[in-house]
């Protein structure tokens, strides 16, 4: 590769690089710090201006200073240069700086490679359909920049068409690779700390307001497809962390190890497949009560299913559950004691009320009834915007504000039960879900986040009690939207009750879900399923490599054939010209022009000359004045007028 190969760029080439750079970096503009967007925009504009004015690019030391300054700024912003966000920021900065030193094709190629790389980084933020579509356009532009560098002088439209053709011809091979390339799941090494940011979901602590905050998000938590008909909505309790330790304001998960659960199913088993969105924790959010778990998952002693590693990407699990069940008829005394424990002081009025109930009740079950009746009869309100509570939060809620969300009810109920001597604990999770009739998936959103209680009776085991149902039964029967009064800060699309809008939303979500399940969710497992449908039982990498080789060669051969196979095609005029020569049994020699041929005929065969003259005239017009189709018709007529002769 000598110097000449790295020729300087022509005047028309840089705009393509600008377009590619903008297409690759623009979607990051909103996600990254404002100063970086401004920095990149200024450098882009500068490079563009220099090109427009045809000025010299800045010297090396200017770029050096800018690079150092940019690196320091990124270091100051993120405190590191490694990891996902700073990495993307560095790429954006390098891209902007590289545009200021694009002198040779070598530099331009680096810009294109950076652009390809940046396209990949967009998927770190989102892999939605819209992002996919935008990136197709961006990919087209970047590829057009690459072809503009290597195809010599070429018009704009022609270049776009070239890049488009190349991409279209690459699609079959991409499909083969996508389907058959052995998929490795999971990270290859520990991801940087910021790999999964901005994940919403349940936490292992609950204070007043923490669930209400979650509920205002319309994000999908998970999607479920039942093998049989879906159970009634009021039975859909998806169990997350069970919270046993209470310090007066916050409920926390206890780290104590418990013995294995004993679950007896009292009803039919329900099998289903759950697709969890990434929430960064280990909760499987299984339907109560789980009977069978997927490989690698286990129960934590409190009937909450967990997996070995945090769920950092969308994952699918197959589970079995029974909604009617009995759970731990025998419970360790230590556990029961733990679930009676309360802070030594605080909330005196609640304790007094509990003692009062304890005196009244003849059986533990009656305690529960008393409490639920209390919530039902007194003027309790279900709202997402409860007033702030004072130091004795339970007292304040029970006797003063009486406005609260599920966590307030669950928390005060468990407090009352413990104070009355009944082992009780808070269970957090999700309740309900929205059934999408279009694709048969039940969608459970963050807005379905819920907290309820569990009390232990001798002879009945742990029994679910949902105090929210006593205050707002619609929450359990119909969902959060019906239960809340108007004006609550729920996502707008949830509040809208118009049928056609809901239908539209269902459609969109069904499309999204298909995208998630079959395109984004195509993993090693799906790959095995797909191949087993084709009749391959033992799918290992050797089989995949063989299939990939066969299918890949097939596709490549097809592309080769399509591109290289060429049927030598004569145009109509030349075909007629040949026919004319056959007809009169004379050949126009290779070095002879048609006019010379006519001259020869005039000398050797004067009788034939007029007809041949006409053919030659029309042939020349048809071939060299192609715009007029009449010439071709005239030629055809002239050829047909020729006398038929055989070569003697």
């Amino acid at each position: 590769m000598n110097q000449k190969r790295d020729a300087s760029l022509s005047r028309e080439q840089p705009p393509w690089l600008f377009a590619a750079a903008i297409a690759a970096t623009a979607p990051h503009a909103l996600a990254q710090p404002l100063w970086l967007t401004a920095f990149a925009a200024v450098l882009f504009a500068w490079a563009g201006w220099l090109w427009w004015e045809d000025r010299r690019l800045p010297g090396r030391w200017v770029l050096m200073v800018l690079t150092v300054a940019g690196n320091l700024a990124i270091l100051a912003e993120y405190r590191t240069l490694f990891g996902r966000e700073p990495g993307v920021a560095l790429l954006v900065m390098f891209m902007a700086l590289k545009l200021l030193e694009v002198r040779h094709r070598r530099d331009a190629v680096v810009v294109v490679m950076l652009a390809y790389f940046l396209l990949l980084t967009h998927y770190l933020h989102s892999q939605e359909i819209a992002v996919g579509l935008w990136l197709i356009v961006a990919l087209w532009l970047v590829t057009a920049a690459l072809t503009r560098l290597h195809a010599g002088p070429i018009e704009r439209r022609e270049n776009l068409r070239l890049a488009g053709t190349l991409l279209l011809q690459s699609l079959p091979m991409m499909l083969v690779l996508y389907l058959l390339f052995p998929r490795i799941s999971g990270p290859l090494w520990g991801l940087p700390e910021d790999a999964h940011t901005g994940r919403t979901g349940l936490s292992e602590r609950m204070n007043p307001g923490s669930i209400a905050e979650l509920v205002t998000s319309g994000e999908v938590a998970f999607r479920v497809r039942f093998d049989g008909p879906p159970p009634a909505r009021r039975l859909l309790y998806w169990r997350g962390p069970v919270l046993e330790d209470f310090d007066g304001t916050t409920w926390q998960r206890s780290s104590r190890r418990l013995t294995e659960e004993v679950v007896q199913a009292d009803g039919p088993a329900i099998t289903y497949e759950s697709t969890l969105e990434a929430h960064g924790q280990r909760w499987l959010l299984a339907l109560d009560a789980p009977l069978a778990l997927p490989e690698g998952a286990s129960l934590d002693g409190r009937l909450a299913a967990i997996v070995a590693r945090p769920i950092d990407s969308r994952q699918r699990f197959r589970l079995r559950a029974a909604t009617a069940f009995r759970f731990n008829l025998q419970e360790a005394p230590a556990t029961l004691t733990d679930n009676l424990r309360l802070p030594t002081a605080g909330n005196p009025r609640a304790r007094a009320l509990a003692r009062e109930w304890q005196r009244q009740a003849r059986a533990p079950e009656e305690l529960v009834d008393l409490a639920l009746r209390h919530f039902n009869r007194e003027a309790f309100h279900y709202t997402l915007r409860p007033p702030l509570l004072g130091r004795d939060a339970i007292d304040d809620f029970l006797f003063r504000s009486r406005r609260g969300f599920c966590e307030h009810y669950a928390s005060s109920f468990v407090f009352l039960m413990r104070a009355a001597g009944l082992p009780a604990r808070v269970v957090s999770g999700y309740q309900g879900g929205e059934f999408n009739p279009l694709d048969g998936y039940l969608v459970v959103r963050q807005s379905e986040a819920h907290a309820w209680a569990e009390v232990w009776f001798a002879g009945r085991g742990w029994t679910r009690v949902d105090p929210t149902a006593a205050v707002a039964p619609e929450r359990i029967e119909q969902g959060i939207v019906s239960a809340l009064p108007a004006g609550e800060p729920l996502p707008a699309f949830l509040l809208n009750r118009a049928d056609w809008l809901r239908d539209l939303r269902h459609r969109w979500e069904a499309v999204n879900n298909t995208w998630n399940q079959y395109i984004l969710g195509y993993d090693g497992e799906r790959q095995r399923q797909f191949l087993s449908q084709l009749g391959f039982i033992n799918v290992d990498w050797r089989l995949l490599a063989t299939l990939l080789g066969i299918a890949g060669s097939g596709v490549l051969a097809t592309i080769l054939l399509l591109n290289l196979w060429h049927r030598p095609r004569l145009d109509a005029a030349r075909r007629l010209w040949r026919r004319a020569q056959r007809r009169i049994g004379l050949n126009c020699a290779p070095q002879e022009t048609p006019l010379a041929f006519a001259e020869r005929v005039r000398r050797t065969d004067p009788a034939l000359a007029p007809a041949v003259d006409a053919v030659v005239r029309h042939y020349l017009l048809a071939r060299y004045a192609r715009t007029d189709p009449e010439h071709l018709a005239a030629l055809r007529a002239a050829v047909n007028r020729l006398p038929r002769r055989r070569i003697v």
């Binding site: 000598n2 790389f117 990949l120 195809a151 996508y178």
Partner: protein, 317 residues
Amino acid sequence: MRPIDRLQELIFGKRSDGEAPIVLDRRRIFILPSRTGLLYALALLVMLIGAINYNLALGHALVFLLASLGLTGMVHSFRNLHHLRLLPGRVAPVHVGETAEFELTLENDRPYARRALVFTAVAGLPVNAAVDTNGRTTVAVPVPAQRRGWLALPPVRLDTRYPLGLFTAWSQLRPAMRCLVYPSPIFTPLPASRPLPNGSARHGEGGQEDFAGFRERQPADSLRHVAWKASIRQGDERPLLIKEFAGGSDSELCLDWAATDPALPAETRLSLLAGWVIDAGQRQLAFALALPGVEIPSASGREQQRRCLEALALYPA
């Protein structure tokens, strides 16, 4: 010559293509990833690892699409050369120190344009070309002429990185083409005409030649030959006039090897002679050329000039 070319020569021999048209079939076209292609492959590998690590389904799709794009680009690189016809064309003679241009006509009988074709005969002197759909074009491959005599066209490397620059497809062309290289001329005053041997009797008869008329002065004409009186009659604005003499049959301009300084190297003497030949040719004089063993009788015109320069070019060193 690059090692790859040398290896190619070793394997495929160095048979000349003769004067026939060259059709680039698949056995003549070679293709390898370029440096950009290797960089691209490396970038894809890193991207694939990233896609696996962060579990990006669309990242996989992007990497696979880009990998396929590379392969498609390879097919198109090959296609850019495939079935291209090259016809050896004309070569104009040059002087030592100039650049010979070997013309090749490219014929494209396929329904797609061929772009970004690079012809290189001598490293550092590439020439770009493109051929339209079903079109033809001529490309002049430059080769610096360093020695007089016949200059054969060295193997021409035709390569292309179209369309993505990821692969270099190339072919070695060895058309039998040669260019005549004249000595580089050194311009000195023409030697004096010398009388013909049989015209010696007329020598001393006063006027050397018969006056035939005037012609406009050219920069090469000596001021001694200017017809001053005639020029003045013409007025200020006109160029000076030169008296022309017809005949000259009794004396001739002979550009003789012997007339050059024997102390000079042979090549310099040839250069001096070449300078005279060009000078005399430009003045449209009749002249003869005498070299040891080569005699070219007196004549004038372009053909005479060409013949003499050819004799000088091919004069054995």
